[in-house]
Amino acid sequence: MDITRLQNDSSGPRIVFRTRCLTKVYEMGALKVHALRGIDLEFYAGELVVLLGPSGSGKSTLLNILGGLDTASGGQVTYLGKDLTRAGDRELTEYRRYHVGFVFQFYNLIPSLTAIENVAVVTEIANKPMKPEDALAVVGLADRQDHFPSQLSGGEQQRVAIARAISKNPDVLLCDEPTGALDSATGVVVLEALERVNRELGTTTVIITHNVDIAGMADRVVHLSNGLVTTIHKNTSRKSPADLHW
């Protein structure tokens, strides 16, 4: 799959992701769990979208499929017009390697690597990455770079995970509850980092959260419930993360 880098387009905002009738069914023996029941959505270049919804509504599932971490059961997802649902393993790997920055709900740091090495794992294989030190500085962890995950608090681990995601200067940034484990002050630091990457580099950003307040910093807010999109809300103006409180 040859995906050229996002360009500005005069005919309105460009569509980065488009999903059509996207479904996902988990089969657990005889039991079928319908995690997504037909999602039709567009994500535009450079926008910051917040995904809201109750637990189990399918947010992580959707994000995983967008990020090429999981395959859909039905429907279609395109990235810049290329069909992700039909991409093979090698193409998905390449897609993830060069285009996607992912922040996992459970951080997924490698315990045997220090903070900076955890970032380096990603920058070593990326195209035009930041220096790992710089990425850590962005999330305010410059002084903890040689600590192992077990020596970091939950919030610090989450920030390493974010540094890792932004360090490769991805085209899209997919964050699964990036502030889940953080207090409000640290959360703001992290969100500011995400917002800055989005604003300065035009990185399309999708953030899952349970926190309705965070929705204020988004361009658009998508509500999911029981595997379906219920509402899409467009903010007229984005709030700065510094003005958010929870």
């Binding site: 971490l69 390697r97 992912f102 997924n108 315990p111």
Partner: protein, 787 residues
């Protein structure tokens, strides 16, 4: 990939104990392989070089006496390249300060001191002076055993005449790499010697001027030994030919070949066991690592690492462990190989040992280990990397448990909760439990197989020297003698009892198969020399018909009642047909047995005897030896006790070496398997155990749950280990069976006990190490970490 390599080192460091245990198992496999193969190849190369450089002959033809010009006719036999005639005699020696019978083979060398074939490697001193009739060269093994140097002298009875011989040189010959008395079970360097003397003095002493009684030839390229042998037999028949034979039946060469076979077999069996165990351990450890790192693999994939580079990451881990193991193994193998080579050099006398390790051996050992290790681990790595990242990130579902068979059959009520946990845990993973049991059982099997030769040899010696031979001393005459000679022996002071025997060289034929050996004539009711039936009960020799060694019977394909053709190779060489009266058990050598008077009758020779078995009074032994040396009729004497003692002395070092190596290796396997499975269950179950601790269970109870499982597995694995060990022994014994000897599959209780003990000790050791960890279980940390 630098960051991933950091991960590699740290992960390895974290499992260093397990990695080391696996390294050692691999090292053991590679070490035994390198040790055995390199020893075999070194001996092989050394032998070929020695044979080549010193003109080892291809065919050997002993005979009674032929004029020298017969040699020319030998050259005309198609296929014969070089010919050399010699005079050979068996003599008695008298070594000062050594009051025991010493026999020797005295062999001529040409007067110019330069044999064409079987040239001598003179280690010290010089060759003989043909003008002197008292100079000899002695074989190195004999010289070493008695600390002889050139210039020393010894007494000898040459053709009935006492003579003092001066040692002028000490030498080695390709003919006597293994220097052993015909019919003996092991070389006896103190009591058997090879001497070389000039052809003229030796010929004069034995009335062989212009004649010879032994002939050696080499074959021209492409010639078949059988053709030359039958040509020689035809030609030499009228000169009292005793049947020519090829290298394959030359005793020194034969023993060497058997030794190589044994090394080769062992090199096939032992390393395979180790490598299989190592492959299994690696598989267990790596699949465990992979499954705990599922989420890490998923994250790496999410960042865009492809399956290949993730696969390579784990393969590197395996390779590192394997390569370290291979390196240790090759080093240890070379070291032990040299040690083994030195032990062999005690038996096999070469001028030099070309110790060499062919790179191909090291490479093969490495390759085999790497491939089997990878085969064992690639599967789990592959399974992990094929999982979609989103799925892999979810923790593995809780393991499924069932009630155990024991509980189903109603024993549940008597089992305590912890015991129940032990049982369910073992039943939950039947394959893993089985493999663990197999692994541990292989360790006792390895030890049994490694130590088995000791018991077997003990048994063989016991049968040979306590059931079969019961005399104190056996005496052979120069030529068949009349019964009068027996009375002469009986009259000697100190001889309590004497029994005659007749030994006739012959070729036994049945159908198209034949075998050259001797037929022994024994008196009815013989007490000192007894035949043993298949259950090792003494039986009498039948009054008519012939009895054969069981293995000889199957070699000839003959059964009781069949008519056997006996082609006598002595005297007027009759050819007779006798019915086979039965088979007897014999572990060493192949022979036929007949009633003495019946044998005399078919030989038409009155009551000739070849020698006698004596029972003597201990007090008079030295005196008897002296008398025997003085008796011209007596060619030599062998003392049974000396033979047994010598046997153990010569074998002791090798047996000790093998027992030691086998125990160390067996211990390593046991330790490796037990330690690894302990560490893995500890990792898998530390949460469960910590939870139990939090619930109020004591350390002891926790240890019981945990170590109870290991103890169970270890105990369960001992009986199958014995069975597998015995199976290997049966295979080895079968593979090494030959006309020289058949190794009985006898495994002593001591061997079983030692094998079990080593397994138990190593299991306890690893249990203790793990118990230490168990006692220091950090409850908070264990419960906090997600797994």
């Amino acid at each position: 990939m630098k960051a991933l390599d950091h991960k590699l080192w740290r992960d390895l460091w974290k499992m260093k104990g397990q990695a080391l245990a696996i390294c050692l198992v691999i090292a053991s496999g590679v070490c035994t392989y390198v040790m055995l193969i390199s020893t075999m190849q070194s001996l092989n190369v050394t032998r070929d070089m020695f044979y080549g450089d010193y003109g080892f002959s291809d065919v050997f033809a002993p005979l009674k006496r032929a004029p020298e010009n017969v040699a020319r006719r030998v050259t005309e036999i198609p296929g014969v390249s070089q010919v050399e005639t010699r005079v050979v005699a068996n003599v008695k020696l008298d070594v000062r300060g050594f009051p025991e019978p010493v026999n020797a083979r005295l062999q001529s060398i040409p007067d110019d001191g330069k044999p064409v074939l079987n040239r001598l490697f003179i280690r010290r001193g010089r060759s003989v002076d043909p003008a002197k009739d008292n100079e000899v060269i002695v074989s190195e093994a004999f010289a070493d055993a008695h600390r002889f140097s050139p210039g020393d002298s010894l007494g000898a009875v040459i053709n009935g005449r006492w003579k003092t011989l001066v040692i002028v040189g000490i030498a080695l010959s390709p003919e006597f790499v293994l220097q052993t008395r015909p019919g003996a079970i092991s070389p006896d360097y103190k009591r058997y010697a090879i001497l070389w003397m000039g052809r003229t003095p030796l010929g004069t002493a034995y009335n062989m001027k212009g004649a010879f009684n032994d002939l050696v030839v080499t074959l021209s390229p492409g010639a078949r030994a059988e053709d030359v042998i039958s040509g020689l037999d035809n030609l030499l028949e009228r000169y009292g030919g005793l049947g020519a034979y090829s290298r394959e039946n030359q005793i020194s060469h034969r023993f060497l070949t058997e030794e190589f076979k044994q090394l080769q077999r062992s090199a096939q069996i032992f390393p395979v066991i180790f490598i299989a165990v190592a492959g299994f351990l690696l598989n267990v450890v790596i699949s465990r690592t992979v499954s705990t790192q599922r989420d890490q693999i998923a994250a790496l994939k999410a960042f865009g690492y492809d399956n290949l580079s993730i696969g390579i990451h784990y393969v590197k881990m395996v390779l590192l462990i394997v390569l370290i193991g291979v390196a240790i193994g090759i080093g240890a193998g070379i070291w032990l190989g040299r040690g083994l080579g030195r032990i062999y050099m005690e038996f096999y006398r070469f001028p030099y040992l070309m110790y060499e390790l062919k790179p191909s051996v090291a490479i093969t050992a490495g390759m085999i280990s790497i491939f089997s290790a990878l085969a064992g681990t690639l599967f789990s790595v592959r399974a992990a990397s094929l999982l979609p990242p989103a799925e892999a990130m979810r923790p593995e579902p809780p393991a499924r448990f069932r009630r155990t068979v024991l509980e189903h059959i109603g024993l549940g009520r008597v089992l305590s909760q912890p015991t129940r946990i032990i049982l369910r845990n073992m039943e939950r993973r039947p394959v893993k439990t089985m493999l663990t049991v197999t692994g541990i059982s292989l360790s006792s099997a390895v030890m049994i197989a490694g130590m088995f030769s000791k018991d077997a040899v003990d048994f063989m010696v016991d049968v040979q020297f306590r059931l079969h031979h019961r005399e104190d001393m056996s005496v052979t005459f120069v030529d068949p003698a009349s019964k009068k000679a027996l009375y002469e022996l009986k009259r000697m002071r100190g001889v309590v009892y004497a029994e005659p025997f007749r030994s006739v060289p012959c070729r036994l034929r049945f159908g198209h198969r034949s075998y050259r050996t001797s037929v022994e004539g024994i008196e009815q009711g013989s007490r000192l020399y007894r035949l043993l039936d298949m259950s090792l009960q003494a039986i009498d020799v039948p009054r008519s018909g012939i009895i054969l060694t069981d293995y000889l019977g199957s070699m000839l394909g003959i059964r009781g009642g069949d008519m056997l053709t006996v082609e006598v190779l002595e005297g007027n060489r009759p050819e007779i047909r006798v019915p086979v009266a039965g088979l007897v058990k014999q572990y060493i050598g192949l022979m036929g047995f007949m009633d003495l008077s019946e044998l005399n009758k078919v030989m038409k020779e009155g009551n000739a005897i070849s020698g006698a078995y004596l029972s003597v009074d201990e007090k008079y032994r030295p005196e008897i030896y002296r008398r025997l040396v003085e008796m011209p009729r007596v060619a030599g004497a062998v003392v049974r006790k000396d033979e047994i003692r010598n046997f153990y002395e010569t074998q002791a070092e090798a047996l000790l070496f093998f027992t030691f190596v086998a125990s160390v290796l067996g211990g390593i396997i046991a330790f490796g398997v037990v330690y690894n499975s302990a560490r893995i269950s500890l990792a898998e179950r530390s949460r469960e155990l910590a939870s139990l601790r939090v619930l109020g269970y004591t350390r002891g109870e926790i240890s019981y749950i945990f170590l109870g499982e290991l103890a169970c597995l270890t105990l369960v694995s001992i009986p199958p280990g014995f069975v597998i060990g015995k199976g290997i022994c049966i295979y080895v014994a079968k593979a090494l069976e030959s006309d020289l000897f058949r190794i009985p599959v006898i495994i002593g209780n001591g061997t079983y006990a030692l094998a079990a003990a080593v397994v138990l000790v190593s299991a306890c050791l690893s249990g203790l190490i793990v118990r230490h960890r168990l006692d220091h279980l950090d409850l908070v940390a264990v419960l906090k970490t997600k797994e």
